[in-house]
């Protein structure tokens, strides 16, 4: 269920901001995807090394644990951009016009407050593992081969920071739609009925050129 809703575009400043941010988000999400791919390669190397040369990858578990935040966090703003983070829209899909934009605005503002708090919380988690005076700046290391953990911990506030930017764009988008009473605002995911959303999703998955026979 990886596909979200359409985001409309225009020449308006907010839409330009939206697309500029999208470029950054796509790079980060691709980074996430490449990290998944390297996970696969890592396992092949580890199993191969163990069976062929009796030389398992040293610190295999440590490396996986380091890669996981890269996979789990980097795409978070990209997913928020088109509304893929799941929700129950049984109530909200019945709303229209200003009422809908107001609901969306409140929801986005709440998430923004939450994420700003988590940027602070995850940043302080990072700081506890970081020490300029220590070798490799490390004050927290992995169990097996002692890798510094601060780079992985730093990924959380960075990804959450980008998400905060995205939420600000969306708050502006919904706020504008609410004030101006717009029908089809830019820079925010347009709510679709569950059925339309599923159709878009199936469309994306069942791309005929991909099914090669």
């Amino acid at each position: 269920m990886a596909s979200g809703a359409a985001v409309l575009e225009s020449d308006h400043l907010i839409s330009r901001l939206d697309r500029w941010l999208l470029k950054l988000e796509q790079v980060l999400a691709l980074l996430s995807g490449i990290a998944v791919f390297s996970l696969m390669v890592l396992a092949v190397v580890s199993v191969g090394g163990r069976n062929a040369f009796n030389a398992p990858l040293p610190g295999y578990v440590d490396w996986i644990e380091q890669a996981m935040p890269l996979i789990a966090f980097m795409g978070i703003a990209y997913v928020q951009r088109d509304g893929t983070h799941i929700r129950m829209d049984i109530v909200i899909s019945r709303l229209k016009g200003r009422a809908l934009w107001l609901f969306e605005l409140i929801s986005v503002l709440l998430i923004l407050i939450l994420m700003m708090a988590l940027v602070y919380g995850s940043w302080s988690h990072f700081l506890r593992s970081f020490d300029f005076a220590a070798p490799l700046w490390s004050r927290d290391s992995s169990i097996d081969i002692g890798l510094p953990i601060w780079p992985a911990k730093l990924l959380a506030p960075v990804a959450f920071g980008v998400l905060c930017l995205r939420l600000m764009v969306q708050a502006w988008g919904y706020g504008r739609a609410f004030v101006l009473g717009l029908d089809a605002p830019v820079a925010v995911p347009m709510i679709q009925s569950a059925a339309a959303q599923a159709a878009a999703e199936a469309e994306q998955l069942a791309d005929p050129k991909a099914e090669q026979e």
């Binding site: 398992p56 295999y60 220590a134 004050r139 927290d140 290391s141 992995s142 169990i143 097996d144």
Partner: protein
Amino acid sequence: GEVAATEWNVSVWGKRRAFTEHVEKLAELVSEKTGGEFTMNISYGGLSKNKENLDGISIGAFEMAQFCAGYHRDKNPTITVLELPFLGVNTLAEEVAVSHAVYAHPAVQKDLARWNAKLLMTSPMPQYNIVGTGEPRDELAEFKDMRVRATGGIGKAFSAVGAVPTSVTATEAYNAMESGVVDTVAFAQHAHLAFGTINRAEWWTANLNPGTVNCPVVVNTDAYDALSDSERDALDSSVSEAIDHYLANYGALLDKWDGVLAEKNVTKVELAESELDAFRTVAADPIREAWIADMTAQGIPAQELYDLVMKTLSDVRAGN
């Protein structure tokens, strides 16, 4: 206003086992001595992940916690002196003595003060020994190319004799052994029982004693300072009783251990003293020297800490 009762949250992990008995006993004693005014709520994993118990103490999320130094060497470099291979600690009582001597050292207290933590007591662990499948390995030469689940200093010791330390989490250790990812697993006895590795074992080294991990119990300094005098007395005076309870309980487990070996038909492997000496020469000295050099470079009185361990050990033995 009214005098509020003091309730501490304590973060440990896993299930209640020999390894947490002193914490349970401490809670019981403190509550008894204060007539229920000072109680402890022990949570097994609900408050934090084990590797982040020091973070939780530093934040003030809970007042007391247990952790192992080897989980995160950079968080607590000074305590890792107790995890050096082949320190020569033979009994749980000796382990308690050296741990508490090290905990009392100002450099160690300063190290832990970075986490707003005060060291309260240790969780003495017997020496790690390996269980394995196949032919028993009772000579150093047979350790070559052996895939062993061992982390930290013990892992380094094994790689010094040509074994291949393999990273597997404790919970995956059984699977790893079953699947041949590793040939052997190094654990303390209670962990061989808890993680089921004993069920795959055909042999167990009784006297390899390469080292162990050190797992202190700490309290949040502010919470400790905020205790009333009578509460603090109740806490401080209960530590040695709690440790005694732990030792008695673990001792019973060790007594049972031989029965477990017999029941599961596990061979008890004794390495010859010459083999052990050879192992120590290759593994103990270089690793200790590297550790001392590393730590000294970070401004830690490493040699002093190591000497303290050795001195305490000989004092304890002289006292016996």
